[in-house]
Every structure is written in C-alpha cells, then in structure tokens.
C-alpha cells in the first residue's frame, strides 16, 4: 500500500512537469479597475464568489487585489479608498507556457492565493489557484488511466480473443545504416509492444537486450536492414536481416571481444565484441547465417516459460 502511494506521488510530479500552466488556469478572468472603490470591489467578490482579482488599467495589468486587502480596508474603515491604493502593485505572474510545476513551487514558496497568468507578450490570459492545479491533475490522471486500461485490455486479451488453430503476431522494424540518431527505436518499440501484450518483464529484458544488439549491428556494420519479431503463444522469434556486406568468419565473430569496429564507433562505447555473445546469452535458440556480398540473417527464439532464466 505504501509503495502504491509513493508511485502515485511520482506520477503526480510527472504530470506537474508535463502539464502547462495554460492548461490548468481559469481563462475567464474577472478584473477590476484601479479607480473602483474597495466597496465596489467587495461587491465583485460577492457576486462572482471569488477571493481576488487582477487590477487592469487600459488593458494592462498593474496589480492584484485580494480579500485580505479588503479585510484590512474594512478594519481601517477605508471602504471608499480606491483599489489602486490598496492593491499589491507589480504582482508575481506565471507564463502560460511554463510547466505547471513552476506554479506548484511558487505557491509553496510565496503562499499567495492566486497568480495572474500572462503570455510572452505580457498580456493577461488567465488566473491560477491551487484548486485549478488539483483539478487539472485529476482530469489528466483520469484520461491517462482510461487510456492505459484500454491498451491493456486490447493487448493482453488478444491471444484469448482470437480463435484460430494458429496465431502469430508479426512486428516489423526498419533499421537504417549509420543512423545513430534513431538507433534503438526498433528495440524500444518492440519492448513497449511486448509489455502491452502482458509478457513477463524478465522475458522482455532478454528480448530487449538481444534486439538492441542486433539493431546496433545493423546500424554500425551493414548497409541497413530490418528486424522482424513474430510472437506466438509461448515464444517470440526475432529475425534480423541486412543487405550486407556479410560476415566472412562467423565463428570468429562469435568470440567475445572480437570486433571489426572502427575507432570512432569504439569511442561511443560500441564495438566491444560483446554484441553477438550478448545475443547468444539472451536467446534460447540462435542461428546466424551470412554470405559475404549478400547479407546476414540472425534468427533467435526466446521462450516465455524461461527455460534459460537469467
């Protein structure tokens, strides 16, 4: 139970970084003029059931006035004073495109009840209270939760829902040569897909390691290729195919520490000669075939019942 709470707090913090102030703020802002009296301001608060407003002069925000200023004015018998005299000038503001977490920290740091929200042109576009923040986070949590439920249902029931003598799901990923920018996308895409299918995390780890190594081999050493994963009940088969140049001596390539990687690739931490041995260690079955000038075909199988175990 404790762990669950900790996890949810983390999720909320994550949301506070994802959401923008503009997504949480109230957009219809009630404002007052600096020339209104405090008595008129009291009426504005009462009618709109709010506790403070920005003060606008010719469309420009010059201050903020709150129920606390009103109480002070009441106590001093100065209800006929103008808002301009009693307001706080140059209020602290937030930008609409700032992450919501900035608002959270400003509230806890300054202990104000509200902050006006402006755009980068300095125009007032909204107002935000701690209640707005809580509501925005709850709305988002609800949406996320709903989406996750749908994904989980759709994916993890697929093998039960489909009626056939044989079922196979095939996922294909193209891998471009020398594209270090996108390198790793195929394996992370496959990893995500498998977790949605409800496959055990330990199995996914083995698939992820083997697929990443195969993907990097295609990126570093070949003219490009593809990775095809075929999921059947009980096992996954991963094939990595490339368009050459091929491996002249497979036995040598399988030796831990053997590598033909150029210096600049080694400097990035690749080319340690551990890729193929890592794939072998992750796979239950492995086949590697290569023809120089044609290409290489890696074929591995990982069983879900963890006959190998790590």
């Amino acid at each position: 139970m404790e762990q669950r709470t900790a996890k949810e707090i983390t999720k909320l913090q994550e949301l506070a970084y994802e959401l923008k102030v503009g997504q949480a703020m109230t957009k219809e802002v009630i404002t007052v003029s600096p020339y209104s009296t405090m008595a008129e301001f009291m009426e504005v608060l009462r009618v709109n059931r709010i506790s403070g407003t920005p003060v606008l002069e010719e469309g420009r925000m010059i201050g903020i006035v709150s129920i606390e200023d009103l109480i002070k004015a009441l106590a001093a018998g100065e209800l006929n004073a103008t808002v301009g005299e009693k307001m706080t000038p140059n209020p602290v503001t937030l930008y609409a495109d700032e992450p919501l977490v900035h608002a959270v920290s400003k509230f806890s740091e300054l202990r104000f009840g509200r902050f006006p929200v402006i755009n980068r042109a300095g125009e007032l576009v909204g107002i935000i209270t701690q209640g707005d923040i809580a509501r925005a986070m709850l709305r988002r949590l609800e949406v996320d939760y709903h989406e996750e439920e749908i994904h989980r249902y759709r994916a993890s029931h697929i093998f039960e829902d489909i009626i056939a003598d044989e079922i196979a799901l095939v996922f294909g990923y193209r891998v471009a040569a020398r594209d270090f920018e996108r390198a790793g996308e195929a394996s992370s895409g496959l990893k995500r897909t498998l977790s949605r299918l409800g496959i055990h995390p330990r199995v996914i780890r083995r698939v992820a390691v083997a697929t990443y190594e195969a993907e990097m081999n295609i990126v570093i050493y070949t003219d490009g290729g593809e990775i095809v994963a075929e999921v059947r009940p009980g096992r996954i088969r991963i094939e990595a195919l490339d368009k050459g140049p091929g491996i002249p001596d497979i036995e040598q390539a399988m030796q831990p520490g053997f590598s033909t990687a150029p210096e600049w690739v080694r400097e990035m931490g690749f080319g340690a000669g551990m890729g193929l041995p890592n794939i072998q260690a992750s796979a239950d079955e492995m086949k590697l075939e290569s023809t120089v000038g044609v290409g290489t075909h890696l074929d591995i199988i990982i069983y879900f019942d963890e006959r190998k175990g790590t």
């Binding site: 970084y17 994802e18 790793g184 992370s188 390691v209 990443y212 990097m216 931490g269």
Partner: protein, 114 residues
C-alpha cells in the same frame, strides 16, 4: 534510496527528466561499454559512464535503469537531453571521475549487482 536523495547528497546536476527523480535506486553499475551495461545492469540501477551520446538513453530505457550519471564534467549532447526527456530517463552530471563517484555511491549504500 531515491535518485533524488543521491543527487542531493553527491551534488549531481540534473540535465534531463527532472520529473523522474523519485525512483528507487536498486544498485549501481559503471562502464563505458554499452554491451557490458546491457549484459549486467539491472532494472532500477544507476549507471555511471563517460558516454554522453544519445544511445545511452536507449540502453537505459531498454533496461529500465533509474538514471545515468555522466562523469568528468562531460555534458550530455543536446540530442541526448531531448531523447532523455522524451523517454523519461534522468541524466545527471558530475565533475568527478567515475572511480571517485562510484566510491561516493558506495558510501551511500548503493552496491554493485554482480
């Protein structure tokens, strides 16, 4: 121990995914060879390395590592930061060498996995 507590205790600079620091660190691993990391680092580990290119994010994300510490004052490349924010992989930096930082981590009770 949470990654946030480690970052504070060792004065690490957060370079990416600042929203993901409240993850529990299960241990540590240090290497600049990505294949070694793939073979050895475990879920929730903190990874100490000199590498700063975007592929470290892919490796950390595939293994569900808690975060990456880049040592010797190196800064992650802009692409690395972008990817790390996208995948939610915290990246921290320190001016210290790997050996020094691992020593400090050990003092905090973060242990190796082998």
């Amino acid at each position: 121990m949470k990654l946030r507590e480690i970052a504070t205790a060792l004065d690490l600079q957060v370079q990416a995914a600042a929203g993901k620091l409240d993850v529990e660190v299960t241990g540590g691993y240090a290497s600049d060879l990505l294949s070694c990391v793939l073979a050895k680092a475990q879920k929730g580990n903190i990874w100490v390395t000199l590498q700063a290119h975007p592929n470290i994010v892919a490796v950390a994300s595939l293994l569900d590592l808690a975060g990456i510490v880049i040592t010797e004052g190196r800064k992650p490349e802009p692409d690395t930061v972008e990817k790390a924010n996208e995948k939610g992989v915290p990246i921290l930096t320190t001016p210290h060498a790997t050996f020094t930082l691992v020593g400090e981590l050990a003092k905090l009770g973060v242990v190796g996995v082998d």
